[in-house]
């Protein structure tokens, strides 16, 4: 620990300072997240049931809520070295532009071709699939960040990668699709003729442009009906959150190196894996009574699972083929408006983040998208980086908090997660630039539709 060292614009860890283990925050939680349930029996899912769908070692990681650390295999650490450590950036220029006494830092996860933090878990999941001797993996993708990350990871380990991409995204985001193809992935617009569930949906709704729920169902069917394949998922699950703790561990190591103690940590929340990964080491300190921090989850007002959802068991997918998870949810039948932060449109929230929120270890706020793009543009113009709409939710609240410091004169230290870049989101920026962006807040009646579909589980 070195107090008073001059803080550079970017704090990079040395290779030897990079984390060698992921941290499992569940081990330190008194109230453990509720177990996944079998939707048919309502009993906790057994490992052997999950191994039909997921890779074996990932199932172990999913179910283990007592082991505090998992070694990161050397092969994954080698891949991490190609794009990690990611920089912890001191936002000197933003501070100056806001004229705030606050000290602002952001952990930037966008410096890789997938453009986001998704690669941290993609490479881990691909590794375990390869280790198990599988031929390949299947997944779904909406906005395309996860599909891109998984394509890169599978190409590195020479695994077959089959991505079901929501048809409207497939057509509207041809560049994302091409990146995946360049990495050798097979990208199928969903719903497709490839699967039984896809054919069924196409028959019922010939003109449909698809949905994430449908794409999940196709990916799961593809994995479970082909020898040597498993299904992988980019968020929500506890295993994904575990892999993403590399973000928080690096952040904490970089802060410690310069003797910096943050007052608050801010992250955007969709499925919850980037937020959970960023905050885990800090929440661990809170849980063990070693330190205290304000922790703020930011979600879109159009899809407010933490701030307006119910803490209940729900289906993880709209196709209802996955296990039930207890989480803050708007109901799997909730249809979010066409918000431009595609990565934050999930109806539920990671069960770990949900339990932490229920235990008041973190706060949540919701923000509207025009204010988010305003913050994004403000940030881009002084800090250079063009942020993803998802990440910009955290920027918005970080700026708000820094401006509060300006009012009060407090020199608070703010850390936020900048999860990715917005290079493939220029349609959204164009709408904002043209003054054509709309905000949308669901009414209580809108929410009631989703809540009505919640399964009846007495747990």
């Amino acid at each position: 620990m070195a107090e008073n060292k001059k803080i550079p614009y970017k704090i990079y860890l040395e290779e030897r300072e990079m984390p060698t283990q992921w941290y499992n925050v569940r081990a330190d939680m008194k109230n453990k997240p509720a177990p996944l349930l079998n939707p048919a029996t309502l009993e906790p899912m057994k490992p052997e049931e999950l191994e039909h769908v997921f890779c074996k070692e990932l199932v172990q990681q999913e179910l283990d809520d007592t082991t505090p650390y998992f070694d990161i295999p050397q092969e994954i650490r080698d891949f991490y070295k190609m794009y990690r450590p990611s920089p912890l950036v001191r936002a000197y220029c933003l501070e100056k532009a806001l004229d705030t006494p606050a000290k602002i830092y952001y952990k930037f996860e966008g410096n890789n071709t997938s453009g986001s933090h998704k690669l941290n878990s993609a490479i881990a999941q691909a590794y375990y699939a390869k280790k198990q001797g599988l031929k390949g993996v299947t997944t779904e993708t909406g906005a395309g960040q996860w599909g891109t990350a998984l394509s890169m990871a599978c190409s590195y380990f020479d695994l077959d990668c089959r991505v079901y991409m929501v048809k409207c995204s497939y057509e509207q985001k041809p560049f994302r699709r091409e990146v995946m193809r360049t990495y050798g992935a097979q990208v199928t617009p969903s719903p497709s003729e490839t699967t039984a569930v896809g054919r069924k949906i196409l028959e019922a709704h010939p003109g449909t442009t698809g949905s994430l729920g449908c794409a999940i169902s196709e990916a799961v069917e593809d994995a479970t009906t082909h020898e040597g394949y498993r299904y992988v998922l980019g968020s929500v699950l506890s295993q994904v959150l575990l892999h993403q703790t590399v973000i928080g561990l690096e952040t904490k190591a970089a802060l410690d190196k310069y003797g910096i103690k943050p007052d608050m940590i801010i992250g955007c929340a969709g499925g919850g894996s980037n937020l959970g990964g960023l905050i885990s080491p800090f929440v661990g300190e809170k849980l063990r009574g070693e330190a205290d921090y304000r922790i703020i989850a930011v979600e879109p007002a159009s899809c407010p699972s933490l701030t307006r959802g119910k803490y209940a068991y729900d289906f993880c997918d709209t196709g209802m083929v996955c296990p039930l998870a207890k989480m803050y949810t708007l109901g799997s039948g909730f249809i979010p408006s066409p918000n431009h932060a595609g990565g934050l449109r999930y109806h539920g929230m990671s069960s770990i983040v949900s339990q932490l929120y229920d235990d008041k270890l973190l706060e949540a706020v919701s923000v509207e998208q025009t204010s988010v793009f305003e913050a994004a543009e403000r940030f881009a113009r002084v800090e250079g980086i063009l942020p993803a709409p998802e990440s910009s939710h955290a920027i918005k609240v970080a700026i708000d908090e820094a401006l509060k410091c300006k009012e009060t004169g407090e020199e608070k230290t703010i850390v936020f997660g900048l999860t990715g870049t917005g290079y493939f989101d220029m349609v959204a920026y164009g709408k904002y630039n043209d003054g054509e962006m709309l905000d949308y807040i669901p009414t209580d009646e809108d929410l009631a539709v989703g809540f009505a579909g919640l399964p009846k589980v007495d747990k």
Copy 2:
């Protein structure tokens, strides 16, 4: 100098190790580049003539061929700290995939929102414009990398930025346009009704989709007819090459830190500024007799200014409004085929690089675009980064040289410049993925058309 230290995947300099001066290789050249000529008088351009078009301090940098170092102003160094130092990456994964004893390093300039090295000079040019008290600058852009970089730089210094974007790019690359608008630039499709030259061209060719030459003419007219504006350019000029030496100086500092001596240095060559910037410090050592290196410029077979051009005075622009420069050129009337490496379609070459080539201080090779995309994809799949088509010309030759080492068993050290990312070039990747990419090599008759238009200058 530390021999035998373990080489990390990425060598980052500390902030305090970053260059504080740019290096002017002309000071060490025995044969100086030929001076710019006034096209009317054929006399060397005087500073006061150039200051009508360009910023004052930039004119000094343009004409000074004796001062070896220029201080980098603190304001520019502060901006550099936001995205520099760029990493020097050891391509361990590529080496393994090629099974070569060669050691491969690349200097990666793509980790900023402009996606390329262009920002290094954009911020410098914006700084000098601001310092001179100007209201704004004008420029042209084809593929859009330069326009994006300049927009970012102008937004940082609160300067007005007017970009004339070749109309077909404006229409086909709406995302690049939106990035510029997000940074506050005014982007005008060229030819436009805004300028006299634009109106004249539109009258003569109502349906034209524009050309770089026309966009230059419009940008120059806009700057010279509006009080408080100057024209800025993203390549070719000696001032731009000077700013880009930050690439080579960082590369050399990072190599020296680990006691690494490269055998060869490879870069792609369009206008020559990134190549010149990368190689300058190494060429300086050659010129001073301190060290020897193979230096290889790589250009597209479709626009082979070094390998098939003539070393002669020529117009820098097709509109013939700019000074004459002595350079390797295909003639300003040469029309390159629609190659996908938009940044490498310039008819001429930086006069510094041209003179070094004529003095045999560097070699040049040309490569065809399908082989370039093949190398790009090979690289992306093992090293993660999706490279720009321009940068991939250097990758292609680096791989070729590494494979030669495999044949001979030589452990050569290869350094190449990875100038940018290909996120906005997915149409080209799509063509390659679909097997629809064509190669094009101009015939001698094609070249004769360009050569016929060379001005008659007896110098």
